[in-house]
Amino acid sequence: MELTPLDAIVRLSWLAAAVAFVIGLSRMNSPATARNGNLVSAGGMVLAIVATAVYLLFTPPSGSFNPIGWAVILVGIAVGGGYGLYSARTVKMTAMPQLVSLFNAVGGGAAALIAIDEYLRHSGVVPGLQENVATVLGIAIGSVTFTGSLIASGKLMGLRITPSRPVIIPGGRIITGLLAVIVVAGSLYLFTGNYSVAVMAAILAAALVFGVTMTLPIGGADMPVVISLLNSFTGTAVAMTGFVLNNPVLIIAGALVGASGAILTKLMADAMNRSILSIMLGGFGGGDSVAGAVAGPGGSVREVSLDDAAIQLAYASSVIVVPGYGLAVAQAQHNVRELAELLESRGVDVKYAIHPVAGRMPGHMNVLLAEANVPYPQLKEMEDINPEFDRCDVALVIGANDVTNPAARHPGSPVSGMPILDVDHAKNIIVMKRSMGRGYAGIDNELYSNPKTGMLFADAKQGLADLINAVKVL
């Protein structure tokens, strides 16, 4: 193939984009360079898109300028870009994870749509084996991640049709298995030299339903890992689209995300001490054992009054705040910072203990607290803060549950083996919580019946505001 100068420039631009993606990702491994890395990656993306546009303008694949095709591109970019910009800029920091999952869903959807379109264009002619395989894989993987990510997003939003608890469909495993059989059998039929739009549609439908039945039984606490896994799937689907379209930049970027996404999924699962396999086979407690949750709280629970809590905090020499999801949903990150500053002005040493999976996703809590201008050095990761609980006067747990449950230290509990914050080592513990409701794991927290623990039943935001006032009048 002779390369014209324009061909060469476009090819090199695609290569430069691929390089930018690799550099961008590697710079995102460290907090100091992460933001710059994201910009480098975005720059590569813009370059690839502009190069493609210039190329398609000067050498249209069909031989002549296609006005409808260009209208499709421009309107499509305006609509998708407009909504993307709007939603990404206006989303509350607490709702970010579900938005990321939504963006992942549409990425997979786009890959599947392209593969479907390419297949239909063959109109009766069986594509070559490699193209055939890539097309079918693109459709199947893209569809699974499309519906799977939408369900994951819905679970994080807590929609009624997709509750965050594991949803057990009767015979769900059998249905999921049957769907997989349909996809595999259909693919084999197409690979052996048959062209059938009906079979392709059957694969598409089965893969779409598979994404739903795969994700529904998984509990909300495992969603970050699932989203990361689906993110890796989308990368793979995009690489498949690259094979279909013979486009190197799609192959490189898709494979890059497919592989790095898989590694990241493993890292996330490790941080929660969960295996990817057990997550995919059904959420916390697994399918059948959910019903047999541990009977009643192990002992009596002591309530602490607002004023007592304020006194304990104000006259402590060191306080460790343990923020959890309850703080995030109540949007109380600013209040907690205010309370911390107030305590510091009284000479109390305040630190924050951040569990790797506090909030909705790993790293989510850091983002929320940073947004509230909590000084970065005060945020301590689990390994660093755990030894300090022994020396701390008051541990203030706000809306965190499973990550503080000492039940994780001994076997026989659904959270067994999960790394936890050693909150029970503190001299006094104040747990601010709306009710005695259970966390994601659906089990009682032994911390609450600890004699050192005082429960302060309140919504995180209101409770903190009241606490601030109570400390002020001391």
């Binding site: 984009a17 990702l25 975005a42 069909s62 998708g80 990321v100 990761e381």
Partner: protein, 111 residues
């Protein structure tokens, strides 16, 4: 088929070589990431597969029938949503990590 790098086929061995090397690259590029960065990193990787927009554009310009235009339109909308939303939301997350000027050490690493 006319000679066009957007449509002419690449030798499968070459395409597969690129694929495998890119996978190795993807594995190598994720090292020991602090848990703090897991979410932004996932979001950043998520934006990268928005590159599928390039494919959607190629398909849109080569479309000939209404169904094809519809499919490619949806693909362009989806892919652009992935790209724009992905990068902007990642940037918003990472914006939160900017260090206070009080830590001069961090600035040296910056550039």
């Amino acid at each position: 088929m006319n000679e066009n790098i957007a449509t002419t086929s690449m030798p499968i061995d070459l395409a597969f070589t690129i694929f495998v090397l890119a996978i190795l690259c993807g594995i190598a590029v994720i090292s020991k990431v602090p848990a703090t960065l897991h979410t932004p990193l996932m979001s950043g990787a998520n934006s990268i597969h928005g590159i599928v927009l390039v494919g959607a554009m190629i398909v849109a310009v080569g479309a000939k029938d209404p169904l094809s235009y519809l499919l490619s339109f949806l693909a362009v909308v989806f892919a652009t949503l992935n790209v724009v939303g992905g990068y902007v939301v990642t940037d918003r997350m990472l914006q939160m990590f900017r260090r206070k000027p009080a830590t001069p050490k961090a600035e040296k690493v910056e550039d």
